[in-house]
Symmetry: C2
Subunit: 370 residues, 2 copies
DNA sequence: TTGTACGCGTTATCAG
DNA sequence: CTGATAACGCGTACAA
């Protein structure tokens, strides 16, 4: 049963409609008002040192009085730079909804861009859209692009690179020419897997992410490396490849249970959540029967029962780092591709059983819980 | 206990560094290549009818062959319009994280903007940021602004309006001069309250949103209007003003329980979730002892136990409508302020007890659940 | 129907 | 240190 409220389109009482504040709005006007040439005003605006302190102060006074702001379009045409960078987020809409990763990432990018006097243009890059990133780049509207795809061989990337526009990828892309920022997926996975092994677990299973995603591959490598360095063999029966989703985590756990793991590392918190449900459905307990660990430290991780041991990454920092790297690249056009790896934190909670160690728990609570 | 993985900055192997594809990139070049004047090419690009079919086809062929794209900066300078609109989202970062409202809204705005050949510039408008919206507008980088604030008397709004830039607000603002899009908060609240009353509840309580928010005020009015139209008096002991947050919902419910309500309408799903927790903590059941309804239809609403009866609004549609209205306004500069009200849907789930009516349940399931 | 010429507001390159 | 003046790439009256 449902009802619709109707759609209403109306008109508001007319006010003092858009009375535009009268301000001097061109270099020329400021020049006349302060009795110097356009060029001098331009120099003042751009902090060019070749201006006497006296005229600079005088001109600045007029500029402030008139509330003058340079027209960025004209500046862009003359200088060839627009001070606009694009954020391309070609991920399905579902993903954006289910997880605060992208809002955080965007927030970080917007913060860094603003701090460096740049503007951020949003491009979703979805299949049905008319304007693709490379087109936008070729129309000269942006000076550079931060590219954040879920599939790192995204079809939008190649044409974009071909335009010669500086690009930074968030997450390691397949194409080795592009600079990128990323968290240390492999090292982090090795670390959390080692944590499970040090707690005494010997049949540690892996619910991996999709192998087409570099991040997933890196996490799998970290897992294997940790198992090997503890002198164990990786039992391929204890490895399942999922899709980062809760459903695939659940399916993976169902498959793995036959092989009696005593611990599971899921390469995403969502898959860990699915695994937990399946473990419960099988009548087993976490962490008493099976220890569980995830990756991402989504809000979900803290709210799970028991709270999930996981790897914390900070999407906001990724966004900031991506923009800063991009601006570096833009400053030095023929720089070599660069990469920036951001640190992660291992967040130990109850799901892996280490809460049995009281000292560990209290340190954890002081530092990171809640 | 936690460990940090280290930050790594490295350099990638140098590839065929940024080989920029060679393309004809100005009107002039195209003109030469096709043996006509710049103006003619310009006319072709802009679909000016005053071009013979023959030359049009010829020029278009060259344009396509050369992969020419007009420089939007130059076009902007010449035409005075940049085809860029700004999305201003001056809400705390926490809000963006906790709820898919803003990602949805942005998605809708991006979709509509792209469909109409416009670009979307993101401006968070947070207190610490250097570049405020009005400044951006005055620098001529955007043709119009969609403003989506939580507080509708946001200090950014007045200076923005003073610039004369077309503005559309998402949600009714205090300032009557600005056009806006909104959902019918009052009508929807009246509808869901009536639903509770029709189910036989007589002591229906309200957990309202903050009175500084027009949406909250409108929902409160709708509630009161429904109660009155059922011939009842509003018991002010059964009204609590919260902050839309879960914590305030919980606090509100604690206060209301003393006055023995048999139903509660919370003006947001988050407050409803808080209320549910408090009801549980008091040893009462939903819907047997107290019926519960919310507003928003966040994903949370479907996942609650019991699932929450609520009002569905579609932030994505709001975003599309806002952009479309803005473009209308931009096309007609001295238009009067307009408003667009979007429909909502009453989503009936188990939390209000109407699941006792089997017919209602099955229709609901067919149409809207899952 | 097509071409000429000017203007949009800035930056950058020259002379002075 | 300052001031002309030429780009920047495109739109658009106006003329042809």
């Amino acid at each position: 049963m449902w009802e619709r409220s109707q759609m209403i389109v109306g008109t508001l009482p007319r006010w003092e409609a858009g009375r535009k504040a009268r301000v001097a709005s061109t270099l020329e006007e400021i020049a006349v008002l302060s009795g110097v040439s356009r060029s001098t005003v331009s120099r003042v605006i751009n902090d060019d040192p070749r201006v006497s302190e006296a005229t600079r102060e005088h001109v600045l006074r007029v500029v402030r009085r008139e509330g003058y702001r340079p027209n960025l379009t004209a500046r862009g045409l003359a200088s060839g730079r627009t001070n606009v960078i694009a954020a391309v987020i070609p991920v399905g809409f579902e993903n954006v909804l289910s997880d605060p990763y992208f809002p955080s990432l965007l927030h970080g990018m917007a913060t860094a861009a603003d701090a460096q006097d740049h503007f951020l243009m949003l491009s979703l890059g979805e299949p049905g859209f008319r304007h693709t990133v490379d087109e936008i780049a070729r129309q000269g509207v942006v000076d550079g692009v931060v590219f954040s795809a879920s599939q790192t061989d995204d079809p939008l990337l190649s044409p974009l690179i071909a335009t010669g526009t500086p690009v930074v990828s968030v997450g390691r892309p397949d194409d080795a020419r592009v600079s990128f920022v990323d968290v240390d997926n492999e090292g982090s996975a090795r670390q959390i897997t080692s944590h499970l092994l040090r707690l005494g677990h010997r049949r540690v299973a892996l619910i991996a992410g999709p192998s087409f995603a570099p991040a997933a591959r890196d996490r799998s490598h970290g897992f294997r490396s940790a198992v090997a360095s503890h002198g164990l063999r990786v039992d391929e029966n204890l490895v399942y490849e999922g899709l980062f989703s809760e459903a695939s985590g659940r399916a993976g756990m169902r498959a793995l249970l036959e092989h009696r793991p005593d611990a599971v590392f899921a390469a995403s918190d969502r898959m860990a959540a699915g695994a937990l449900n399946e473990i419960r459905a099988a009548g087993l307990r976490v962490p008493e029967d099976i220890a569980l660990a995830g990756f991402d430290d989504m809000p979900l991780a803290r709210e799970m029962e028991p709270p999930l041991t996981t790897v914390r990454q900070r999407p906001e920092r990724l966004g900031e780092a991506a923009v800063n790297l991009l601006l570096d690249l833009m400053a030095d056009p023929n720089a070599t591709p660069k990469r920036v790896m951001l640190p992660t934190e291992l967040i130990v909670r109850a799901s892996c059983g280490s809460y049995l160690n009281q000292e560990t728990l209290s340190r954890q609570e002081r530092g990171h819980l809640q």
